[in-house]
């Protein structure tokens, strides 16, 4: 096991600080000795009077004090403290049972938590103890404490930030403050560092960088941020309960896969050493979940992590949590009703009202979002036409893309190339429909070209039975009647491949194993997905996804870079073929190289290692793949498996049946 090592920089810094602190400590010690020699001048101890020290000095003092305590036989880190009341439970139980200025003599409680503030001197000390997000006052006077010696020792040794355990009597101060009056206080775990302090209304830590990188400090110092994560947990548990009650089965499908499918996004690539196989992190669980419906699990869901190798911004983190569910014999109309019921019910249960305040972007004023069902429904194309007050070119028109392009140009709307109909429409929807939405609204019936896995509409040509739920301009859910006709599914995948050829690297991969599964019969099915992170953002009124992730992805700072370098796994098996010889084989010509030689195979290995997908041309197979596979198939297995990338490529591509490989062009 490796606990994180200290980086060199951090170590230098620390050593320097320690040296300085030692000097200072020596000075202080000399001073203290002087003072001890002259007891009349002894300074009176006041709790919290070291708050003005600089943090390094504070740390050094604290380390020295704790070491001294341990050396004298004390224990700054006891193994166990029995807690009879968690702080919120203590408040709940005793707030009504106690009266001003009275103590419940005869009742003993034990509570524990972090000291949030310390004040007092002589015979009376006050602390705020924080536990489970709530605060209780600790009012310690000499009369109640078990011994004078213990009283003096403990109050001099505990500081703000320490974790302490308290045994005492519940009661209220004369001002009516619910308190614990301690018989005994034990230090459970000292906080060696000086904690940031809030100043008036200003939170203790305002720098988001510091908050995200050191979430524990954020949670200690900015108590209200804890609520966000409680909301997150309640959101997830609400969804689970909702689906469990409707007889859905929670399942787990793989995160590592041979082909990234079910969505259009750039995947993370990784490598399984033992299988010598290139793999991808899933970008969506859709395809395996639908295979389970085929397998006869009629209602399934998965709440889990997905991974997309894309930029980080206010609404995107490389890993994020979604819920997807699939229900046999249901269609998109059924799912819209379920969505209304689930989302509105959740808002009511978590926030106590259908109406919530939300500020969509940093610095933007709050708007009121009303989740009262039913939600508004807009059919995409007709909605666009009425919003733009024009009629759009027919989707069957071969000139559709260029006509749309002209419309965008005339309205000064930019669209990144390639200008496919799907991308152009998406741009218009963003401009004219999504941005206008505040209250939850279904945008539905997307064109087929935008929805390769959704089923063609039962009555409207070129459209699908799909909807997306938008709230305050952001997509929250995406759902559709699932395409279960394998022939059409294969055509849609091939169509996506043609978009890919035209430069749209967000088009979907052809997953032949999925089409074969469809050929075994997928019942009519409704499928649904929701972004948990985004929903939590709404319910906790946060407009940055980092606020709802405990440990958001961050570019490492200098110290972290050093830590990474220090922990880099050793490349002990860099040369896997050490000692092995490339087997003798017949010539296998491919693109001018001879794969029957080590040099030829090595160059292929390098080329495959640079690739961005499982195939020569990236995520789409081509005729060249077919030729290469044929050439490789003539060679002995040891030759094909000699280099990792070649072996991985070969094993992956051979997952497709010969008939399918024959169709690659």
């Amino acid at each position: 096991m490796s606990e994180p090592k200290e980086s060199k920089n951090a170590m230098k810094k620390r050593l320097k600080a320690e040296a300085a602190a030692k000097k200072k400590a020596e000075k202080d010690a000399a001073k203290a000795a002087k003072e001890a020699a002259n007891p009349k001048k002894e300074k009176k101890f006041v709790a919290g009077d070291d708050a003005d020290l600089d943090p390094t000095q504070y740390y050094a003092n604290r380390v020295a004090a704790i070491e001294k305590m341990q050396a004298e036989g004390g224990n700054a880190y006891p193994h166990k403290f029995h807690v009879s009341h968690r702080v919120p439970d203590f408040i709940k139980e005793f707030d009504s049972k106690t009266k001003e200025g009275e103590r419940l003599e005869g009742t003993t409680v034990t509570v524990a938590g972090r000291l949030n503030s310390v004040r007092g001197q002589g015979k009376l000390y006050f602390y705020d103890l924080k536990g489970d997000g709530d605060f209780v006052q600790i009012m310690s006077d000499l009369k109640t404490y078990e011994s004078e010696e213990g009283f003096n020792a403990i109050h001099r040794s505990i500081k703000r930030g320490d974790i302490v355990g308290i045994t005492g009597t519940p009661g209220k101060s004369k001002t009516g403050q619910l308190s614990v009056f301690p018989k005994q206080i034990v230090l459970l775990s000292p906080c060696l560092h000086m904690l940031p302090k809030s100043q008036g209304d200003r939170p203790a830590i305002t720098d988001p960088e510091v908050r995200y990188r050191n979430r524990y400090l954020d949670l200690i110092c900015n108590n209200e941020n804890r609520r966000t994560f409680e909301i997150r947990a309640r959101v997830i548990s609400y969804i689970r309960r909702f689906l469990d009650e409707r007889n859905f089965l929670e399942v787990e499908t793989p995160s590592l896969c041979l082909l990234p499918g079910g969505a259009t996004a750039k995947p993370f690539k990784t490598f399984h050493n033992d299988l010598n196989q290139e793999m991808y992190m899933r970008i969506a669980p859709e395809l395996p979940l639908k295979k389970l419906i085929i397998g006869g699990l009629e209602r399934v869901y998965e709440i889990g992590r997905n991974y997309r190798n894309e930029g980080i911004d206010l609404t995107h983190n490389p890993e994020f949590t979604t819920c997807e569910f699939y229900q046999a014999y249901a269609d998109y109309e059924d799912l819209m009703r379920m969505t209304e019921e689930m989302v509105s019910g959740m808002v009511l249960s978590v926030c106590g009202s259908y109406k919530i305040a939300f500020s969509p972007k940093p610095g933007m004023p709050e708007v009121e979002v009303d989740f009262t069902p039913p939600f508004k429904r807009i059919s995409m194309i007709s909605g666009l036409e009425s919003a733009m007050k024009i009629s759009l070119p027919s989707l069957s028109d071969p000139q559709c893309a260029s006509k749309l392009s002209a419309i965008l140009k005339s309205r000064d709307i930019e669209c990144a190339p390639p200008h496919t109909t799907a991308r152009l429409l998406d741009e218009l929807v963003g401009e004219y429909l999504e941005s206008e939405i505040v209250n939850p609204t279904f945008i539905m019936e997307h064109p087929e070209i935008m929805s390769p896995l959704a089923k063609y509409h039962r009555s409207k040509e070129f459209l699908t039975e799909r909807f997306e739920l938008f709230v305050a301009g952001r997509e929250l859910c995406n759902a559709y009647t699932e395409l279960n006709n394998p022939k059409v599914q294969r055509e849609r995948f091939l169509e996506q491949a043609s978009f890919n050829a035209s430069g749209d690297d967000e088009a979907m991969c052809l997953d032949e194993s999925f089409v074969v599964a469809l050929e075994h019969g997928l019942p009519p099915t409704g499928g649904w997905g929701l972004g948990i992170d985004r929903l939590t953002m709404f319910l906790s009124n946060k407009n940055n996804i980092k606020e709802v992730l405990l440990f958001p992805a961050m570019k490492p700072n200098a110290e972290e870079v050093a830590l990474i370098a220090a922990n880099k796994p050793k490349d002990d098996d860099k040369d896997v073929n050490q000692g092995k010889k490339f087997p003798a084989c017949q010539a296998a010509k491919w693109e001018g190289a001879d794969l029957g030689t080590e040099a030829g195979m090595r160059s292929l290995d390098c080329r495959l290692g640079d690739g961005a997908g499982p195939f020569l041309g990236g995520s789409k197979p081509s005729g060249a793949d077919g030729e290469l596979l044929r050439a490789l198939a003539t060679l002995p297995r040891e030759a094909v498996g000699f280099f990792g990338n070649v072996k991985g490529y070969y094993n992956g591509a051979m997952q497709f049946s010969e008939a399918v490989r024959g169709t690659w062009k």
């Binding site: 804890r226 992590r305 019942p523």
Partner: protein, 483 residues
């Protein structure tokens, strides 16, 4: 003596046709068996040595291709008569299991409850069609039920309904029916159908029971087919869901908060294992997939969440075996102010509750063993269990200057391999435990007080030198929990 491949193919085809004809005529399994073994023998002749690329190829591929073609033609036929071979939705009112329990002990053989209307959907697993009568068995998520189609009754609503049923359906199709409930003369609960509807036409045949999904590799690769042909597989996944949901409920009731920590990490930590490596393009940052959730969760305890847990995927770049998968699900929980005794208490409680909930008893068979989860479970220190199995007390070495040499000698005598390179007594004790005791721990057992050398994140024992406050839970010779 060699007949040509084409010849054998023709024979296979003829045999296949004959078997299908017999099946359709309602011949029972026993009578079919000799024909099927003949077919298999013919097919075996057809197969050459498997080419590298075709290890996975289905032996009946030629047959499958033909069936596929025939079914695609049926799809065209369905469309031609203005029906939809891939329908959009269907409302079901009940399930096979619900019907079975609703009618348990009710209806005499031959009796029908015409007032009890049902609508159901599922996959056709078998069909027997006669002139004016057909029997299907329909499988939904809950189980199977027999469907009866009577030409007269079915055609009352749609004159072509029975003809279409015969012409369009195959086993493997998903259909929806409405009807009433009767018990056949043989006593089988049956839906006497009034209407039927094709919901999804299957293009490929189901793997049949004879040379179907017995190959475990194929079962794991095509789990959907496995579940159709071996419905009990679903029970495993239902049990799995019950376990996680029971853990969640128990922990939520105890005031634990479920949280999610990152999978993608700049440095791996919290365990000793080889990580998966990947790369974030936009940040140009090498990342590894987490090998444990420990360090992040502990930071949250520092942050003031006193009770947290995470149920999530862990990734280890290691070999695959019957007990190891590159990604697996674990739960880790952390509770402030508690110690390892509390954790043993919680573990015992939680697992016993799950066992009770799943099986209604605390005694379970596992392989050749019977495992009793009755509390309390045995708790024993590593030193004592090694003493029990090896007859040597490692604690007797305390203070002995030759401790390491003696320990090596004793371990060697007991037949524990690879101890020569180990550097401390603690490592040797641990090795002896793993080698001699672990496989023998059949009943749930907490092994406590591990040597500190093998437990860098655990706290030194409050009173015993050289060991930490840690336990692992073992049952049927395997580690189940660790703290």
């Amino acid at each position: 003596m060699f007949s040509s491949m084409a010849d054998i193919e023709a024979q296979v085809k003829a045999k296949g046709d004959q078997i299908r004809a017999l099946k359709d005529a309602g011949t029972d399994k026993a009578a079919l068996a000799p024909h099927i073994s003949e077919l298999l023998a013919l097919k075996a002749k057809l197969e050459g040595p498997p080419a590298a690329a075709q290890v996975q190829a289905n032996e009946g591929e030629g047959e499958a291709r033909e069936i596929r073609k025939a079914r695609l033609e049926k799809i065209d036929a369905i469309r031609a008569s203005n029906s939809n071979p891939f329908s959009y939705s269907f409302d079901t009112s009940t399930s096979a299991a619900a019907l079975a329990s609703a009618f348990e002990g009710k209806l005499e053989p031959g009796e029908e409850d015409e007032s009890y209307k049902v609508s159901m959907a599922g996959r056709v697993m078998a069909r027997r069609v006669f002139g004016k009568l057909a029997f299907f068995s329909l499988q939904d998520e809950s189980g199977q039920i027999q469907l009866q189609f009577d030409k007269k009754k079915l055609n009352a609503a749609d004159a072509d309904a029975f003809k279409n049923l015969k012409a369009w359906t195959d086993s493997g199709d998903i259909i929806g029916v409405t009807g009433t409930i009767r018990r056949t003369d043989k006593g089988e609960l049956t839906v006497n159908c009034e209407t039927w509807e094709m919901l999804t036409k299957a293009i490929l045949p189901l793997p049949d029971k004879f040379h179907g999904l017995t190959d475990v590799n194929k079962r794991y690769r095509q789990r959907h087919l496995d579940m159709i042909t071996n419905p009990s597989v679903r029970d495993t996944f239902r049990a799995r869901a019950t376990i996680t949901s029971s853990i969640r409920r128990q922990l939520d009731d105890l005031g634990f908060l479920e949280i999610e920590t990152p999978v993608l990490q700049a440095t791996p930590g919290g365990a000793e294992a080889k990580p998966f490596e990947t790369h974030h393009n936009a940040l140009d940052l090498p990342l590894t997939l987490r090998i444990a959730t420990e360090l992040h969760l502990k930071r949250l305890i520092v942050g003031g969440f006193n009770r947290v847990y995470e149920i999530g995927r862990i990734f280890r770049n290691e070999g695959i075996s019957t007990r190891h998968n590159p990604e697996f699900t674990s739960i880790e929980l952390y509770q402030a102010y508690a110690d390892y005794e509390d954790m043993m208490e919680l573990t015992e409680n939680m697992i016993t509750n799950i066992v009770n909930q799943l099986h209604g008893t605390e005694t379970l068979p596992y392989g050749e063993h019977t495992v009793s989860f009755q509390r309390p479970w045995r708790r024993i220190t590593m030193n004592d269990i090694v003493l029990e199995h090896m007859g040597f007390d490692f604690s007797s070495l305390d203070g002995n200057p030759d401790a390491l040499a003696v320990a090596k000698e004793k371990a060697g005598e007991a037949g524990v391999p690879n101890v020569d390179s180990l550097k401390t007594v603690g490592y040797i004790l641990n090795e002896c435990f793993e080698e001699l005791c672990e496989p023998k721990l059949i009943q749930p057992t907490f092994v406590t007080d591990y040597p500190k050398e093998v437990s860098p994140l655990a706290k030194p024992h409050r009173s015993k030198e050289g060991v930490v406050e840690r336990f692992e839970l073992f049952a049927v010779g395997r580690e189940l929990a660790n703290r």
